[in-house]
C-alpha cells in the first residue's frame, strides 16, 4: 500500500541574489513499512523535501509545482490548522542531533509530554507513562527523563529526539541526518537502534543523509538526489550492484571502504552547480565526461527501467 506519493515536486527559495531552484520535478512513492533513503551532497534538496512533507518550509520557500499525497490526501492543499493535526501525530521528524532540537530550559520529559498532549487526548499521568515506555524503547533509563538536555551526552540527546518522534505512533517518520554530528561509535549505536525500532514497530521511514554507506545499511529503497533532481531511485541492493546513473556511479566510487581491497578512488570531476542558474538540460551534464548533445538540450525524465528501478538519464 502506498502511504506517500510525491509527484513532480518543485520548490524554490527566494533570496536576494535570485530564485534558488532547490527541488525540481521530484517524484517517488513510499510503501507502508518501507524505509527510504535519500542521499546527496549538501544543497541537493534532501532536507527541503523532508521539510516540505512536514509542511515546515521556511517563509521564503515556494512550492511551484507538484503534489505530496499522504494516505490519499494532498498535503499541499491543507490549511495550517489541518497540517498541525497531521504533524507529529501522523508524520513526525527526527532532527539532527543538535542542541537546538531540544529546548535547553525545560526538562526533557516535559518536552515530550507537551508533544504528546498537544497531539492526542490523553491526561498527564498517562503521558508520563508513555514517556517511560518510550525511554525503555530507545534504551535510556526512564529515571533520566527528568534531566535537562545539557545533562545528556550527544548520543542520549539523539535517543531522546527519537523517543519524541515516536511519541504519537506516527505512520511516517522523517529522519534528517540523525547521526551526522555524532562520533563513529555513537553513530553506530543510533543506527542499530533505528534499525531495531523499525523492525519492531514496522515503521515507515524516510532517512535523509549525505553518507551513502549509512543509508545502505538502514534502508531498503534508495533515492539519489543531485542538484535538486532525483536521478535514480531503486531498491538498495539493486542500486549498489547495478547503478545506472553516472552520478550514482561516481558517488559510489568516491567512498573509501574499510573492508576489502583499497581501490583508487575515482571522484566525479568538478563541483555541484549553482542552483540560482542551474545548467540547462540534465543538471549533471557539466560534470559528465560522456555527455552527449541531448544532455545539454533536454531535461531527462525519471524512467522505469526494471522492477522499481527508476533512472533519469538520457544515456541509459
Amino acid at each position: 500500500m502506498k502511504i506517500l506519493e510525491i509527484k513532480n515536486l518543485s520548490i524554490q527559495y527566494k533570496i536576494s541574489e535570485g530564485n534558488v531552484q532547490a527541488v525540481k520535478n521530484v517524484s517517488f512513492d513510499v510503501e507502508k513499512g518501507e524505509s527510504i533513503g535519500l542521499v546527496g551532497e549538501s544543497g541537493c534538496g534532501k532536507t527541503t523535501i523532508g521539510m516540505a512533507i512536514m509542511g515546515l518550509l521556511p517563509q521564503n520557500a515556494e512550492i511551484t509545482n507538484g503534489q505530496i499525497i499522504f494516505d490519499g490526501e494532498d498535503l499541499l492543499t491543507k490549511t495550517d490548522e489541518e497540517m498541525r493535526k497531521i504533524r507529529w501525530k501522523r508524520i513526525s521528524m527526527i532532527f539532527q542531533a543538535a542542541m537546538n532540537a531540544l529546548n535547553p530550559v525545560f526538562r526533557i520529559e516535559d518536552q515530550i509530554i507537551e508533544a504528546i498532549m498537544t497531539h492526542s487526548d490523553i491526561n498527564k499521568v498517562d503521558a508520563r507513562k508513555r514517556v517511560e515506555e518510550l525511554y525503555r524503547l530507545v534504551g535510556i533509563d526512564p529515571i533520566r527523563a527528568r534531566d535537562y538536555p545539557h545533562e545528556y551526552s550527544g548520543g542520549m540527546r539523539q535517543r531522546a529526539i527519537i523517543a519524541m518522534a515516536l511519541a504519537c505512533n506516527p505512520d511516517l517518520i522523517i529522519a534528517d541526518e540523525p547521526t551526522t554530528a555524532l562520533d563513529v561509535l555513537v553513530q553506530d549505536q543510533i543506527i542499530s537502534e533505528i534499525i531495531k525500532l523499525q523492525e519492531k514497530l514496522e515503521m515507515t521511514m524516510i532517512y535523509i543523509s549525505h553518507d551513502i554507506s549509512v543509508i545502505i545499511e538502514t534502508c531498503n529503497m534508495l533515492g539519489v538526489l543531485y542538484a535538486g533532481t532525483l536521478v535514480e531511485y531503486a531498491p538498495t541492493s539493486e542500486l549498489v550492484s547495478n547503478p545506472l546513473h553516472p552520478y550514482t556511479k561516481g558517488l559510489l566510487g568516491s567512498y573509501p571502504s574499510i573492508k576489502g581491497e583499497i581501490k583508487k578512488l575515482n571522484p566525479i570531476p568538478g563541483e555541484p552547480p549553482d542552483l540560482i542558474d542551474p545548467p540547462s538540460g540534465c543538471r549533471f551534464h557539466p560534470r559528465n565526461p560522456l555527455k552527449e548533445k541531448v544532455c545539454i538540450e533536454k531535461e531527462p525524465e525519471l524512467r522505469l527501467i526494471d522492477d522499481r528501478h527508476y533512472v533519469a538519464c538520457h544515456l541509459v
Binding site: D188, H210, S213, V240, I258, P267
Partner: protein, 339 residues
C-alpha cells in the same frame, strides 16, 4: 628505511579547568598523556579517535600552536618546545597546518592573493637570504607572485589568474580547502598537519581532495599528519595509524595491519562501527560497546578503557596501566591482554 622526521617523547598536555584571574587552576584536564611516536620522512601518519581523544591537540603541538606541558618533540633533531624567536620562525616555515573548516579558516575580507602572499611576506626577509637566493630575487614581489601562481596550479585551481582576486565567498567548499593547502605550500614546508581536512567537504569533492593531497605529497616531498575520525578515509590516505583513546595511544602500526587485524579492543570496536557500503556484508556489532561517561583524571591507575572494555578483567585491567608494547615489527599495542 626512511628517516625519522619527528620524534615525540612522552608528550603530555594538560589544560587548566576553572581558572580565572584571581585563582590558579587546581584541576587539570589531561588532553594528552605520555604519548610517544615517530613520524618518518615522506609518510602519511594518521591519528584516529573519537572527538575529545586529543587528536587535534597533538596536531597543534607538532606545529607549535600549543606548547606541551611536558615531554619533547624533536623536529629534524631539534626540540621544538623550547624554540624561541628567530629559530621558532624558521621552524614554522617548515611545519604548516591546514584546518577542518574552510569556511572559518580563511579571512573573508582577503582575496586569494592576499591570503597566499601573507606567509611569504612574513617569512622571506630579503636581507636574511643567502647570496645565491638573493641573485634569484626570492624576496621580490615578482618572485612571490610567480610562486603563488605556481602553487595555485599545483592545487589544481587553473587557470590561476581566475582565482587570484576572488574572495572566499566566491569559492566552493572544495576550492576553499585547496586555498588552505596552497597557503601552507607557498612556504615549501616539509611537514603539514591536516586536521580533519575533508570532514566538511561533500563526498564527491572529498575523494578528489584526498587524491590531491597524495599527489602534492609526491610533488613537494611532504610528510603529513592526517587527523581524522573517519577510519575509511584514514585507511585510504595513511601509511601508518595511531589510535588515540582519551589522550593515550592504544595502538600504533602500519595502516593495513591495523585495519585487517586490530589488536586492541578499542580499535576493534572502532572498526566494527564503521558503516559498510555493501548490502551483502552484514556487519557484526560488538557487544559491550557501552558508553561509560568519559572521566578525565590525572591519577588514573587502571587502563583508561577499563570501564568500556568487553574483555576487561578485574585482576589484570583494574590494576595498573598497560604500557605500549611491541607485538610485531613496527606494531605497538597497549593492553594487558596482549603479550
Amino acid at each position: 628505511m626512511a628517516e625519522t622526521l619527528i620524534k615525540i617523547n612522552n608528550l603530555s598536555k594538560l589544560y587548566p579547568l576553572k581558572k580565572n584571574l584571581f585563582r590558579k587552576a587546581k584541576e587539570w584536564l589531561p588532553a594528552l598523556h605520555n604519548i610517544s611516536f615517530d613520524i618518518n620522512e615522506g609518510e602519511v601518519f594518521g591519528l584516529v579517535g573519537e572527538s575529545g581523544s586529543g587528536k587535534s591537540t597533538c596536531g597543534k603541538i607538532l606545529v607549535r600552536l600549543e606548547k606541551a606541558t611536558s615531554g619533547q618533540v624533536f623536529f629534524e633533531g631539534t626540540e621544538i618546545n623550547s624554540l624561541k624567536g628567530r629559530d621558532l620562525k624558521a621552524f614554522r616555515k617548515k611545519a604548516q597546518m591546514i584546518f577542518q573548516d574552510p569556511y572559518e579558516s580563511l579571512n573573508p575580507r582577503r582575496t586569494v592573493f592576499d591570503t597566499l602572499i601573507e606567509p611569504l611576506n612574513v617569512h622571506t626577509v630579503y636581507e636574511e637570504l643567502a647570496e645565491p637566493l638573493k641573485a634569484q630575487h626570492i624576496g621580490s614581489r615578482d618572485y612571490r607572485e610567480r610562486k603563488i601562481q605556481e602553487v595555485l596550479e599545483k592545487v589544481e585551481l587553473k587557470p590561476a589568474e581566475d582565482f587570484l582576486y576572488r574572495y572566499p565567498h566566491e569559492l566552493s567548499g572544495g576550492q576553499r580547502q585547496r586555498i588552505s593547502i596552497a597557503r601552507a605550500l607557498v612556504l615549501d614546508p616539509k611537514f603539514i598537519v591536516a586536521d580533519e581536512p575533508i570532514s566538511m567537504l561533500d563526498a564527491s569533492v572529498r575523494a578528489s581532495f584526498m587524491n590531491l593531497m597524495l599527489k602534492l605529497k609526491k610533488d613537494f616531498n611532504l610528510t603529513y599528519l592526517f587527523i581524522s575520525h573517519d577510519l575509511a578515509s584514514a585507511r585510504y590516505i595513511c601509511d601508518r595509524l595511531g589510535v588515540l583513546f582519551q589522550g593515550e595511544i592504544v595502538e600504533i602500526g602500519p595502516t593495513e595491519m591495523i585495519i585487517q587485524d586490530p589488536k586492541h579492543p578499542y580499535t576493534k570496536m572502532l572498526l566494527s562501527a564503521v558503516p559498510v557500503a555493501d548490502p551483502k556484508i552484514k556487519r557484526k556489532r560488538l557487544e559491550g560497546a557501552k558508553m561509560a561517561p568519559i572521566e578525565h583524571s590525572t591519577g588514573c591507575v587502571t587502563c583508561k578503557f577499563y570501564t568500556r572494555c568487553p574483555i576487561a578483567s578485574k585482576e589484570k585491567c583494574g590494576e595498573g596501566k598497560p604500557e605500549l608494547v611491541s607485538v610485531e615489527d613496527g606494531r605497538f599495542v597497549s593492553c594487558h591482554h596482549i603479550k
